[in-house]
Amino acid sequence: MEWEFLLVQALSGLASASSLFVIASGLTIVFGVTRIVNFAHGSFYMLGAYVAVTIVPWLLEFDRSPWLFFAGVLLSALAVGAMGVVMEVLLLRRIYRVPELFQLLATFGVVLIVQDLVLLAWGPVDIPGPRAPGLRHGVDIAGQRFPAYELFLIFVGPAVLGLLWLLMHRTRFGVLIRAATQDREMVGALGVNQAMLFTGTLFLGAALAGLGGALQIPRVSANPQMDLSIITEAFVVTVIGGMGSVPGAFIAAVMIGLLQAFGVLVFPKITLVLVFLLMAAVLVVKPWGLLGRPEAAAGRAVLPEGILDPGRLDGLTRALVVVAVAAVLALPLLDAYAVKVGTEVLILALAAFSLNFLVGNGGIVSFGHAAYFGLGAYGAGLLVVKAGLPMEPALVAAPIAGGLAAALFGFFVVRLSGIYLAMLTLAFAQIAYAVVFQWVDVTGGDNGLVGVWPSRWAASREVYHYMVAAVTIAAIVLLRRVIHAPFGATLRAARDSAQRADAIGVDVRMHRWLGFILAGAAAGLAGGLYAFSKGSIDPTLLGIPMSVDFLSMLLLGGIQSVLGPVAGAAAFHALKDFFLPLTDHWRLFMGLSIIAMVLLFPRGLAGAWASLRRRPA
C-alpha cells in the first residue's frame, strides 16, 4: 500500500474522530454533572442536523458566504441547546433521584417522542444539506484529492477541546462543572445553585450535540435514523474515555476514528467488531475507561431497587395466577387472532421474566437483553433455513445460542456495575445487531430470513400455542424456583452489598456471570419460540427498541415483584397490539407513557396490586 493512500485514510479517520468527539463531549459533560446517561443526546444530534438543513439554506439565500454558513451552524447549535434546557426543566429535574434504569428509560422516552415529532415536522424523506461555501473543493495532499471540508473538520475537534478547556478552567461555570463531576453532594453543600448549574450543563451538552449534527450536513443528509446510530458510537467513546472525562472522550474518539479508517482496509465488513474488541480490551484493563474514575461509593446503605423478598404467593395472588393460566389455555376457544396474541404474550413474558432475573433479582441493569432474544431466534432460524434441521433441535439450539452470546458478552459486562454496565450491555447488543445486519450472506441482512416454520405436528396455531404455553410456563416456573434458591439469593446478596458477599466467601463476579448466562439462555429460548411463531427472523429482534420494549414490560409490571414482569408483558403487548394499528404516532404515545410511568407509577402493576391487597377490607 502506498504511504499517500495511508495518509489520506488517516486524515479521513481524524475527520470522523473530530465529529465524534464534539458529540461525545456533550454526553460526557452531562453525565459528569447530572449522573444521567442521556439517550436523547442522539436526538439532539439529529435535531441539530434538521435545524441546520432548514436554516442554513435560508441564510445562504442572502449571500453564499462561508460566514453565513457557519453562523447558521452555530445558530442551530444554540437552538438545540435551548431544547436541552426545555428537557432539563420539564423532565430531568424530576428524575435526578430515581434509579438509573428509570432514568435511562425516561430519556429513551424522549428519543421516541423526538422521532415522531421529527417525522411530523420534516417528513420521512432524507433532506440533503448545502455544501459549505468556500470549502467545496478538494485539496491536493501528496497527489491525492482530499475534501477541504473534511480537512476543516479535523481542526474542529481540537478547537472544541481547547474551548472546553478554557471554559472548564477559566470560568466560574466551568469550575463548577468540574467540581460537580468530582463530588456533586459537596457542590450542593457549598451553596451552589444546583438548578442553574444543571440547566446550564444541559444547554452546553445539547448545544455540542446540535453542533455535531449541524456540522454533518454537507456530508450526510438529515434522516430519521441518525439518532440511534450516533448514540451507540457516542456511548462507546464515553465508556472508553471514561465517563465524565472530556480529554478521555477526545483520546477515545481519535482511537476509534483511526481504528475504523484503517480497519476498513483489513476487515472491510467488521469494523464494528474491531471497535468492540478495543472497548473490551480497554475495559478489562481499566474498568472505568482511560481517564475515568471509579464511582465514589455511597457512604450510607440504600435499599436496592428490585426484588426485596421473593416471598411466597398469598392466596389471592395464587388464585390470580391460576385464572391467568386457565385463560391462556382457553384462548383457542376464541378466534385465531386471540391465539396469536396469546402465544406472543407467553413468549415475551419469558423474555421479560429472564430480564428481571438480572435487573430485579441481580441488580444487573441490562440495556441490551434483546441481543440474547434475537440471537436465540437466529440460532434456531438459521438451523432450519440454512441447515434444513427440523424445529425440535432448533429449539434446543436457541437457548444455547443465547447462553453462549451471554457468556461471551457477560464475561466483560460483569466486571462493571451500575451505569457502566448498562452502557456496555447496550453497546454489545448494538454490535450483535450490526453483525446480523451486515452479514448478508448468512443472515439475509435487513430483510432477514423467511421459512422458519414449526414441525408438521405443531403446524397449527393452536397446537403451537399449547407447546409454547408448556415450554414458557415451565421455564418461568423453573426460573422463579432459581430466584428462591441459594443461587438467586446469592445474586440478591451480591446486589445488596458486594463487599459483604465477598467477605462471606462468595465469588461475586463468577455468580453474576453465571446469572447472566442463565438469563441469556432463557431469553434465547424465548427468541427461538418467537421465530417459529412468526415464521421469519429479522434484525429488529436484536434492536434497541426491542430491548426497551422488554424494559418497559418490567417497568409496567414492577421490577420489585417476581411475577410482575409477566403481567407487564401481557399488558404491554396487549396495549401495543390494540393501539399500534389505530395510530400513526405509536412512538409518541409510547414515549409519553414511559415518562408518565417513571414519574407517576414507578412500582408498576405489581405495586398497585400489592397496595390494593394491603388496604384494609
Binding site: 426485596l308 423478598d309 441459594p486 446469592t490 440478591r492 445488596d496 459483604r500 465477598d502 467477605a503
Partner: protein
C-alpha cells in the same frame, strides 16, 4: 502457635505511606487492638490482612499459610470472619436471612439452583443469632433494626464462617456508649471460649483498655508502641502523641475497673 502474623507490611497511596513496616502476631483466643489517630493507617493495615488491599511489601500468614494478597472470599474460606467500619449487611434480607446467606456461602451451596434458600440452615442461623442476642428479631427486615443491633447481626454473619480469626474494623463505631461495652464484652467472651483470635481497631479507649490483651499503637503508618494495656498506658510517647489527657483518664478508669 501463632494464628496470624504480619511481617513488614508496606502500603503507599501515591506519595502517602499509609503503612510502613508494620509487623505483629496474634495467638488463638487473643484480642489484639490497633489504635491510633485518624489517618494512622489502621484501616489500611486491616484491609491488607483481610485481602481488600494488596500490600506493596511484606507478608501475611494465617496459621503458617501465606495469604498475602489473596482476595477476601478466599481469605474467608480459610477461616477469617470480618466486620466493617460501616456495617455491611444484605439490606433486602431479614435478620435470619442474612445469617442463612452466610451459612449457605460457608457450606459452598451458593450455586444450588433448586433448593429453597429460606429453608436452609434455619436452626444453625437461629443459634448464631441467639449467641449475639438477636434471636428475638430474627424475622424482621434488617433495615428496620437500630444500628447497634445491625452490628450484632454482622457479628453473627462473621461467625457463620466458623472463623479462627475475626477482623473487626471499629466494631463499636456509631453505637451508643452502653451498647458499645456490651458488644465488646460479647466479642471477648466468644473469642476466649472458642479460642478465636480477634484483631480490631477502635477509637473508644474504654473498650480498648477493658478488653484487649495487647495493643498496637499506629501513628502515621508506623507502630510506635506495643504491649499489654498496662505497658501502653505507661508509655510516655503514646500519652504524648495519641492518648492525651482524656485517653489517659480512660486508661486509668479501666485499670481501676479491672484491677
Amino acid at each position: 502457635m501463632t494464628l496470624l502474623a504480619a511481617e513488614g507490611l508496606v502500603k503507599r497511596f501515591g506519595g502517602v505511606v499509609a503503612a510502613k513496616d508494620v509487623s505483629f502476631a496474634l495467638d488463638p483466643g487473643e484480642m489484639l487492638a490497633i489504635i491510633g489517630p485518624n489517618g494512622a493507617g489502621k484501616t489500611t493495615t486491616f484491609n491488607m490482612v483481610g485481602g481488600q488491599l494488596r500490600p506493596d511489601a511484606g507478608r501475611v500468614t494465617l496459621a503458617g499459610q501465606d495469604i498475602t494478597g489473596i482476595p477476601p472470599r478466599a481469605v474467608c474460606r480459610l477461616g477469617v470472619g470480618r466486620t466493617f467500619q460501616v456495617a455491611q449487611t444484605f439490606l433486602s434480607f431479614t435478620v435470619l436471612g442474612n445469617v442463612q446467606m452466610a451459612l449457605i456461602a460457608h457450606h459452598g451451596q451458593t450455586r444450588r439452583l433448586l433448593a429453597d434458600a429460606a429453608a436452609l440452615h434455619r436452626d444453625d442461623a437461629l443459634a448464631l443469632l441467639d449467641r449475639v442476642g438477636m434471636a428475638a428479631q430474627a424475622a424482621r427486615p434488617i433495615g428496620e433494626l437500630a444500628y447497634g443491633d445491625v452490628k450484632r447481626v454482622e457479628l453473627a454473619i462473621a461467625l457463620a464462617a466458623a472463623p479462627r480469626l475475626l477482623l473487626m474494623d471499629e466494631p463499636t463505631a456509631g453505637m451508643a456508649p452502653s451498647e458499645r461495652s456490651a458488644l465488646m464484652a460479647l466479642v471477648a467472651g466468644i473469642a476466649r471460649t472458642e479460642r478465636i483470635g480477634v484483631l480490631f481497631t477502635e477509637h473508644d479507649m474504654d473498650a480498648v483498655f477493658a478488653h484487649a490483651d495487647r495493643i498496637l499503637v499506629l501513628v502515621r503508618g508506623e507502630i510506635i508502641a506495643r504491649g499489654t494495656p498496662a505497658e501502653v498506658r505507661a508509655d510516655p510517647e503514646v500519652q504524648r502523641v495519641y492518648l492525651g489527657h482524656s485517653g489517659t483518664r480512660a486508661a486509668e478508669r479501666a485499670k481501676r475497673a479491672h484491677g
